[in-house]
Subunit: 378 residues, 2 copies
């Protein structure tokens, strides 16, 4: 069994391509991780997710601790066996969703107590308990518990949350020592939209020597330029040879721009959530299948795609499925979107390896700007 | 291109096994037809439906005339191309769902006018228009428009609806003459729970010489014994060498019992609808995955199944998916149920061919009576 490691194979400006090695298999970076919130990537079979080229998926500690419960998953052989995913799994700490979903939250130095949004039952999440839960799930890459504040916010509140997150990072790291070799715990940079607080956070975490670093608390409503400025501020202070994970981001353009600034890993609900609502991401920008212009369009979404969902069904049929709220519409457009996100990352890896990442970004953005293929003239 | 025909290969009592030949391929009988209401079998890829051994699927004229519309589907190349199903498709006449779903219905000798349950827009359905719509869809096997009354009901009302359905059968048959060779129009026996009315309906339809005969207006709330008594009353008066289709039926036991009485074809939403609600049909009876007893059960539903959904996921995982209302729960249990219905019919065909249908029924019922495999002792 090999341990956890990261090897950079090529650089192009600040962008890098490489491989995160885990005992459950390699993760080619830059990597997009499909979100498997409740031990399932919504509307997808795990075989399909794998076939798209995803090396790793994400699980949500908050949802899984509520249902079916961490101890229950452990008893059933862990999250991999439970959900049928044999590759690496990354879990978040639960903190972000406690703040966005749970009720009756009470935050103290010790941790956070809250009521389940499902049935109101009480839970406590501390740095130690979060790491324990992620260990019970059997997560290959785990996150420290952090406090993530909404933006915009007062500097004092951002600073306080960042400092608390650093103390929780220390506690998480100590708690994580009990876990088997080969797993990794990432520290999470906080500091909102304040560059100096972000830098202070990054430096303090770097001094703790984590095997990987996450950038949290972004894509919470701020403009893309603020997000990118924060990434730029932070990167010089994070160990360069360790993987950099931008949490919960983002649009295809966010991914391109963040890769250019040295980010290696991403996760986001956008391809799956928007897919369920009829919005497809494509080489030619976004396509909203609710729109009546597709109603009689016999063409597939993208006949050159390697994804059957983009290639083997007419736009008129996808439109019909979305309008009639058929499950298959969600299934097909989710599939299309996850395929596109994987294709985008595969293209980035290949372009960085040839030293042509800027050209790749330009070409991809040109495709989006072109907009959808010319409207069909029935 | 071969035409439409039916060849009986073997008989066992009143049960028969054979093949309905259509230009789009054979239908092995007894056959269960998965319901593809809105040009999709809910939660399934057509490839999966085919791989389960389904030879034919059903489409609903009422739903398809509302959305996306028959003329639109015709413009897009027909229902087969639209939904991606290359085998034969059977469509109903729309009449049953007009009666159960549409609003502001007005029934006359001419036909029925109604408002869409989706957006209130007005439609008219006559025997001629129903056949025209089914032709535009490109259905291989079509149904005459009929009037189907709820049970129990007054004899006079049942009689009146049956007589109207006979006049509509004549009109449907004339309208159908415009359609290409190889397609078939079935007449529909009505008559509620009144044996003599059923017999009168069957005789009158037989005299019109249809290529197949449906038994409609059953499984509308009456006890199974009434349904079986009606089938028994009708069968001696239907041409023996033509396919017999029992519409909208039913439970696995209904299928077994109806096959024993000479029925060749079935359709029902039960395997798909119940699947979406967490109820699985199995060799050992029904299993409700909402039930907490599955929460920590690591066993698959049926490890000897050829269906991956029954074989490759734990009961605990299926329970979790149902409880969290994940799409994958509906997808997997629908898959399990359609697999079981196909397996049930494949077993019936094989048993009839060997002259052992009574033994087959007994063995299948013994499995159900045994109930689910012994509860798991965690």
């Amino acid at each position: 069994m090999t341990g956890f490691s990261f090897a950079i194979a090529a650089r192009d400006g600040a962008a890098r391509t490489g491989v995160v090695s885990t005992p459950r298999g390699p993760i080619r970076t830059p990597a997009f991780m499909p979100v498997g919130t409740q031990a399932t990537v919504k509307g997808m079979y795990m075989d399909q997710v794998k076939a798209l080229g995803a090396d790793v998926i994400l699980g949500n500690t908050y949802h899984l601790m509520l249902r079916p419960g961490a101890e229950r998953i452990a008893k059933l052989g862990g999250l991999h066996r439970f959900g049928g995913w044999t590759g690496p799994i990354l879990t978040d700490s639960g903190g972000f969703q406690v703040m966005s979903l749970a009720k009756l939250r009470k935050l103290t130095e010790q941790g956070v107590t809250f009521s389940s949004h499902v049935d109101g039952s009480r839970f406590e999440l501390t740095p130690e308990r979060s790491v324990e839960i992620q260990g019970l799930l059997g997560a290959d890459i785990q996150m420290q518990l952090d406090e993530c504040v909404a933006l915009p916010n007062e500097r004092a509140a951002i600073d306080k949350a960042m400092q608390l997150s650093l103390r929780w990072a220390e506690r998480s790291k100590r708690a994580f020592e009990a876990q088997p070799e080969g797993r990794a715990l990432f520290g999470i940079v906080q500091g909102g939209d304040q560059p100096d607080l972000r830098i202070a956070s990054a430096r303090a975490l770097a001094a703790m020597d984590f095997p990987g670093y996450s950038i949290g608390g972004l894509a919470v409503g701020e403009p893309q330029e603020v997000m990118l400025a924060m990434i730029e501020a932070v990167m010089p202070h994070l160990p360069e040879e360790k993987p950099h994970y931008l949490m919960g981001v983002g649009t295809p353009d966010d991914l391109l721009a963040a890769v250019a600034r040295g980010v290696d890993m991403f996760d986001c609900v956008m391809p799956t959530r928007n897919g369920r609502h009829g919005q497809a991401f494509t080489r030619f920008g976004k396509v909203n299948f609710r729109n009546a212009r597709h109603a009689e369009d016999p063409r597939p979404l993208d006949e050159t795609s390697s994804c059957p969902a983009a290639r083997d069904y007419s736009r008129a049929y996808l439109h019909h499925l979305v309008r009639t709220e058929e499950m298959l519409g969600s299934m097909l457009i989710t599939w299309i979107n996850l395929a596109y996100y994987q294709e985008l990352m595969a293209g980035a890896r290949e372009a960085i390896a040839r030293g042509a990442y800027a050209d790749y970004m330009a070409a991809v953005r040109e495709g989006w700007a072109r907009g959808d293929i010319a409207p069909w003239q029935g």
